[in-house]
């Protein structure tokens, strides 16, 4: 009978959810229950006044009185219920209550934990398990679900923006799936990938930004596939000192993501629906030159029979987006689940572009016995992206680029027959919009299986199998008959990536109390990682009519295929000794081997040691007046080593041969690069020092961190003596140093029953320096012939090129025509790295209904290379205002030609202060039995940017995910201003 009741109840909950019908309609035989209890602070045991107490899925609720006590009267039928106890500034507690014959129920003390904890908080470490933050000798940034759900962010990278201590996050492009540039403790490689390693529920996942077709500047990093609403928390672990579990791959830091899981005794339904509008924040000033009579002038300064065109209104639009997300979660005492599905369709502000994503997730956790537990996390993602190419680094076709190259003196609109005119050498942007067909499809399945065996309280064995499998197809099609440069008969490119990576990790933990004041925590583990990737590329030209597939073409390029496999073995031991709950010392060692390296140079050892000293737990501190201000003060120090192996290809250790055809006979010749059999992984040593403090009972908390990171044995290419038979070789020649300071101050200016105002300020600096490059300078490919370089003694990616001749008092020297003079030779002319970045996040909660939030991001001292402006000022193209200045006489004649070759002219200050987000939300607690709350949120993102940059946005990079190229502007889609309205329903 009880079972039947439960079924009925479950069904009615579901029905209730669907029809929003109060469950009470179905209820029968109600009794009048009285539930009593006291709400207190978990640490100080002080009563909390004004805490909200409601019975879940009912309309009954009350709040705690002066002594923290509450008494709740409820007309309910007997059964199991959940009491939700919430209070601003504290973690919400959920307490199961069974109502039976006894109509008076006393819960006793309910302890609420403050949310702005730093000392006691559990964080996920790179060992995969939870550790109390106070025991850690390193700083770890964590971002919690509420910080993601209640904002307008739409990707993992965005969630980290402005929140990472010791790192920065910048967006490369404003296309809806645009990639990000994330650097933790700076860039520590030259040839390799400098982005962090991503791990979701123990599975290492790919963050490749490989674009299988030539698009230019719009490369998407694959973390965009993750549905941010599924995330429970993100931990960011910077550099070598923190990461023992991913030793040989941890040089760039690790981003650990944990997804949500249901809780025992609950059935939750969460539905979120959001609608967004996006539009361009700032347009370029286009050359609309006229003479005194108002007649338009052509690029030679002669009267134009016709007019000049500003096509930005034809290219950009107000874009609409929607995201729907539905999640069920809950569990019984032995079984927990979380299931979600989401649909997102976001138009891009460039017409015809959009990003459509479907995600499905199932997380299941099952306790098989007291000692054995298993969980499965499965995530399927399918997305489709319609793209407009933008020229970028390698190809001439594109929409924004052909608008830039113009010239804008020719009518680009189609005639009555629908034929588009040729307007210049780089195609007609309106024709491109109408006729090009570029898209990408991704189908991805990732997840993990975790098994935990806990035979006793102090022994725990964890096994994780993580996998990530995706298939990406990219197609670029230009039909015959357009004005695309050199492609009059059309073109198709088709690329495919098939990627599989798995990781097997085993970790054995043993805790022991060695003496009354001495604890030991031992961790032994092993890891096996496997990556298998296959990349195919096809291209053809000369299409007949009607076909959009490669077989419709008649001239085929050589197809390309690459298969890559990597196997990594690792093992580690970690020991943490705790002394009197004051001093915690962690010593760890890891060995790693990767198949990328030669058999004799494969195994490497990465040790680390860190210490945390809770000086505020010492008697002298407790007894002094210091304790009255600083309730908590922790000193920490760490030194550690890690490795980097992305600078070497999977098979670079081999001496390989290239196929040649000799009069039709198949032959081979040795490749010119010597096999790198004797190189070792790039090795990083990082020292970090810092403190965490809590003032005035944690009303103010402060974190400070300094790091000194040296990555030596940096892999670089060098010339080989030709007498060896090879021309180049890869070797451990270089070094990169990153030194940085980061600080965070969090304070809670107001905190009472009704108002909680919290604010945090983050500040980061990083100084980067490269050495060991042959000949002192390395030109990065894909930067328009090498305007960005790695140069000994300078930060990676500085701009390098020609500059002005200056007079003795620092003014630009000009010739008799008033044109600036170019100085001979090339030099460093700009640095894309900011001197410092900072952020301000603030949140104001008023009562239980209103919440207001804001985020401001600052980047100071970074330069941007405005390549777009250089093109727009050159007379042959002349589409931007700078050339209007020449035509209308505000700049001397010949200015465009002269400064075209002076690259210093195009380096601009890219400092910005951005209002990243403003949000306001109102939460209803409707008196429907099944509906817990409805939160309505109005959010503005990327609302304003205070900068002196002349282009669209200084936060841009045509280099996408490339390591060396940063701050390079060449007509990427600008980041739009977005307005988002969302509704979140919790049942």
């Amino acid at each position: 009978m009880a079972a039947l009741n439960k079924v009925i109840k479950d069904i009615s909950i579901i029905l209730g959810v669907i029809f929003l019908i109060p469950l009470s309609l179905f209820a029968q035989n109600n009794d009048n229950y009285s539930i009593k209890g006291t709400v207190i602070h978990s640490k100080s045991k002080v009563p909390l006044v004004g805490a909200n107490i409601i019975i879940k899925n009912t309309s009954f609720g009350t709040s705690s009185k002066n002594n923290g006590e509450f008494k709740l009267q409820a007309d309910l039928k007997p059964g199991d219920y959940i009491l939700i106890v919430s209070y601003v500034g504290f973690k919400t507690e959920k307490i199961p209550v069974t109502l039976s014959n006894d109509t008076t129920v006393n819960i006793g003390n309910i302890e609420l934990q403050p949310t702005d904890l730093m000392g006691e908080q559990l964080v996920i470490t790179a060992q995969g398990g939870l550790s109390e933050r106070k025991k850690l000798g390193v700083s770890i940034t964590s971002v919690e679900a509420e910080e993601i759900e209640n904002t307008g962010i739409s990707s993992v990278a965005e969630a980290l923006s402005g929140k990472v201590l010791g790192g920065y996050v910048k967006r490369n492009s404003g296309s809806p799936a645009g990639g990000f540039r994330i650097r933790l403790h700076g860039t520590s490689t030259i040839l390799g990938n400098a982005a962090p390693l991503y791990v979701i529920d123990g599975a290492i996942i790919s963050n490749s930004s490989l674009s299988v077709i030539q698009l230019g500047g719009t490369s998407t990093s694959r973390t965009v596939d993750i549905n941010p609403m599924d995330i429970k928390s993100i931990s960011v672990i910077n550099g070598a000192t923190a990461a023992a579990l991913y030793g040989s791959r941890a040089n760039n830091g690790v981003v650990m993501i944990t997804t949500k899981m249901g809780e025992s005794g609950e059935q939750n339904i969460f539905y979120s629906s959001s609608f967004s509008l996006h539009h361009i924040r700032k347009k370029l000033n286009v050359n609309m030159a006229t003479n005194d009579k108002g007649q338009f002038l052509d690029n030679d300064g002669k009267i134009l029979h016709g007019r000049r065109y500003n096509l930005q209104n034809q290219i950009f639009r107000t874009a609409f987006g929607t995201t729907q997300h539905l999640a069920f979660s809950g569990g019984t005492d032995k079984f927990r689940y979380y299931v979600s599905g989401s649909y997102k369709n976001n138009e891009g502000i460039v017409k015809k572009t959009n990003f459509r994503k479907i995600t499905l997730r199932t997380n299941i956790e099952r306790d098989f016995s007291q000692t054995f537990e298993a969980s499965v996390h499965l995530n399927y993602i399918n997305n489709h992206q319609n793209i407009m190419p933008n020229g970028g680094l390698n190809k001439l076709y594109g929409v924004l680029t052909s608008f830039l190259f113009g010239p804008n003196t020719v009518n680009p609109f189609p005639n009555k027959e629908g034929e588009y005119p040729a307007i210049g050498n780089f195609g007609n942007p309106l024709e491109a919009l109408a006729k090009y067909d570029f898209y990408k499809d991704v189908s991805r399945f990732l997840g993990s299986v975790n098994l935990t065996f806990e035979p006793s309280d102090n022994l725990k064995i964890d096994y994780t199998l993580g996998f990530d499998n995706y298939h990406q197809i990219g197609v670029g099609f230009i039909p015959p008959g357009t004005h695309a440069t050199n492609l009059p008969y059309g073109m198709i490119q088709e690329g495919q990536i098939k990627h599989l990576q798995t990781n097997n990790n085993i970790a054995i933990r043993y805790e022991a109390q060695l003496a009354s004041s001495l604890t030991s925590n031992t961790l032994i583990g092993g890891s096996l990682q496997y990556v298998n990737e296959r990349i195919l590329g096809l291209a053809a030209t000369h299409f007949g009519v009607g076909s959009k597939v490669i077989t419709g073409a008649s001239q085929f390029q050589q197809p390309s295929e690459t298969r890559n496999r990597t196997v990594i073995y690792g093992g580690f031991v970690q020991e943490r000794i705790g002394l009197k709950n004051k001093l915690f010392v962690t010593v760890a060692g890891r060995v790693d081997a990767s198949s990328r390296f030669g058999a004799n140079d494969r195994w490497h050892f990465y040790p680390k040691i860190s210490a945390a000293y809770l000086i505020s737990n010492e008697n002298f501190w407790l007894n002094s007046s210091l304790n009255k201000i600083f309730n908590r003060f922790k000193l920490r120090a760490a030194i550690g080593y890690s490795g980097g192996q992305t600078s070497i290809g999977p098979y670079a250790r081999f001496n390989v041969y290239n196929p040649v055809s000799v009069n039709g006979n198949p032959g081979v010749v040795p490749a010119t690069q010597k096999g790198a059999a004797n190189v070792i992984p790039e090795r990083q040593r990082e020292i970090s020092l810092g403190f965490d403090a809590g003032l005035f009972n944690d009303r103010i908390t402060a974190s400070f961190n300094w790091y000194h990171q040296v990555t030596s044995d940096l892999l670089l290419q060098r010339t080989a003596a030709p007498s060896s038979g090879f021309l180049t070789k890869l070797g451990n020649y270089g070094k990169i140093t990153n030194i940085g300071l980061s600080a965070r101050l969090k304070f809670v200016p107001i905190k009472n029953e009704n108002v909680l105002w919290s604010t945090s300020i983050t500040f980061n600096t990083n100084h980067n320096e490269v050495s060991g490059i042959e000949g002192g300078i390395l030109f990065f490919p894909d930067s328009f012939g090498g305007f960005t370089v790695a140069m000994n003694g300078k930060p990676i990616g500085v701009f390098y090129g020609s500059t002005y001749k200056y007079t003795e008092n620092g003014k630009i020297k000009k010739d008799e025509e008033g044109l600036p003079i170019e100085a001979p030779g090339n030099q460093v002319i700009g640095n894309p790295h900011p001197d410092w970045t900072g952020s301000l996040l603030t949140n104001l909660q008023i009562g239980k209904h209103w919440n207001f939030g804001a985020q401001v991001n600052v980047s100071y001292g970074n330069d941007v290379f405005n390549f777009a402006r250089r093109i727009g000022a050159f007379p042959a193209y002349g589409t931007l205002q700078l050339y209007e200045d020449v035509l209308e006489g505000r700049k001397p004649k010949g200015y465009g030609e002269r400064v075209f070759g002076i690259f210093k002219r195009w380096v601009e200050d890219g400092s910005y202060l951005k209002i990243r987000e403003l949000s306001a939300s109102y939460t209803f607690y409707p008196k429907y039995m099944s509906l817990e709350k409805i939160r309505v949120n109005l959010i503005g993102r990327n609302l304003f940017s205070f900068d002196s940059y002349s282009g669209y946005d200084p936060e841009t990079n045509v280099g996408g995910g490339r390591t060396g190229v940063a701050g390079f502007d060449f007509m990427q889609v600008p980041i739009p201003r977005s307005i988002i309205l969302s509704f979140k329903l919790s049942f």
Partner: protein, 440 residues
């Protein structure tokens, strides 16, 4: 009960996963390109490398030899402003170790030497068929001999064995290595005749192995100063046989044709660049050059258009010249003070009609009537070699051997403008055994 079974099952799964997973080996093989293990340890790999090596010589090494020697020895006018080429043409001090033309020539020669070394070292263990092996070893020996021999035509010393920090050897030592290689090659094919499979599938068609060995033995004995041996090997060359580099015009192109006719970066200089020595009746002028009125830019040499062995992308190029063999004899006799024999050999070349030469090279001149002094005859041999073997990479080394260079930091543009090239920067900076650079 079910719980227990499940628990057992999961324990089994747990163990299975761990054990299957550890089956992955760190020795991942490369599916993308053949590796040295594959190429150098299989019969097919060795043969593919032998084919690749010949193609590399024909497409890359030989054109570099011809063009660089031609520019330095005033056969070829530079018709572009690329700084490496302009400086090479100026010669003397302007030829720097960083000059990219010299770097490319050195790279090509060194890579060729390394390919031949790989074949010589690995083929005996891998190629099981004796008749295949004989052909491959002989071929590799010949190509290594050419790699070393051509290196000495431009540089004062050369490394013999390729490898990291290769040692350099004196000219005598290198010449004796070259002669050893050629001697071994001959021995190989005389004791085991190369298989038909080798001749059809490995050896590039048109390349006559035996006669090429004799011709090179004659050439390098002459260069080494072994004049009697030079004569005796020259006598063994079958003068009616052609040994050529063939080009199918698509997968392998006559790149000298491309450089002169498509990119137009070079042009042959009027009168073989030897206005003081040329005989206007020399019929070889017509064989090699198409008369035209052009001048080169920079330097304004009067230039012609190229004919001879470079009039299409599929024109074949001689590996050695029968007329050149006769001139080896002439020079050897002269060095041996057999003046009459020397003049006889010179006249054989001077009076040769085109139909008497397998390539159709015929001067059709009167017999030699100049002074019978050694210096006059040296000059005559220099001219005859220049005209008989125009643009064959020989004139630079001929000028040195026949004493036609006046060493100078600032030589006249229309002379041979260097004694030896400097060793390229890439070699100097990465190999401490590299000798110091010659002055000019």
């Amino acid at each position: 009960m079910i719980e227990n079974i499940l628990q057992q099952k999961y324990k089994i799964l747990f163990v299975t996963i761990i054990f299957t997973a550890t089956g992955c080996s760190l020795n991942v093989s490369n599916p993308n390109e053949p590796t040295s293990e594959v190429v150098l340890n299989s019969d097919q790999g060795i043969k593919s490398l032998a084919i690749g090596m010949q193609g590399f010589f024909a497409s890359t090494v030989y054109p570099n030899i011809v063009i660089d020697a031609g520019i330095t020895a005033n056969e070829i006018a530079v018709n572009t402003t690329y700084i490496n080429l302009v400086n090479l043409a100026r010669g003397g001090d302007d030829v720097k170790p960083k000059n990219s033309s010299i770097r490319d020539l050195w790279k090509a020669l060194m890579r060729l030497n390394s390919m031949a070394d790989k074949l010589l070292k690995n083929a005996p263990d891998v190629v099981k068929n004796e008749a295949d092996l004989s052909g491959i070893m002989a071929l590799a020996s010949v190509y290594k001999a050419m790699a070393l021999g051509y290196t000495l035509q431009f540089f004062k010393q050369a490394p013999i064995e390729s490898g990291s920090q290769a040692k350099f050897y004196s000219r005598d030592k290198v010449f004796s290595k070259i002669l050893d290689l050629l001697g071994n090659a001959l021995k190989k094919i005389n004791s085991t005749s190369p298989s038909n499979d080798f001749k059809q599938d490995v050896l590039l068609s048109g390349f006559n192995l035996k006669n090429t060995i004799y011709a090179l033995q004659a050439r390098y004995n002459l260069f080494a100063g072994n004049y009697t041996d030079a004569v005796s090997y020259a006598n063994k060359v079958d003068m009616s046989v052609k040994s050529v580099l063939t080009y199918d015009g698509s997968t392998l192109r006559n790149t000298i044709y491309d450089e002169f006719n498509i990119s137009n970066d070079y042009a042959p200089i009027d009168d073989f660049g030897l206005p003081a020595l040329v005989n206007p009746n020399d019929q070889r002028l017509k064989f090699y050059l198409l008369s035209s009125q052009g001048t080169s830019n920079p330097f304004e040499f009067e230039v012609d258009e190229l004919d001879g062995f470079w009039n299409s992308a599929s024109s074949e190029i001689p590996v050695y010249f029968p007329g050149g063999i006769t001139l080896i004899k002439a020079e050897s006799y002269l060095r041996l003070n057999q003046i009459d024999n020397a003049i006889k050999a010179i006249n054989k070349v001077r009076t040769k009609k085109s139909q008497e030469d397998p390539f159709g090279i015929g001067a059709s001149l009167e017999p030699y009537s100049g002074p019978k002094t050694k210096s006059a005859l040296l000059k005559e041999i220099y001219y005859q070699r220049s005209a008989e073997m125009f643009m064959s990479g020989m004139r630079f080394t001929d000028a040195r051997r026949l004493e036609m260079i006046t060493p100078s930091n600032n030589p006249p543009l229309d002379s041979v403008t260097r004694m030896y090239y400097p060793y390229p920067k890439a070699e100097h900076e990465n190999n401490p055994n590299t000798p110091t650079n010659p002055k000019y």
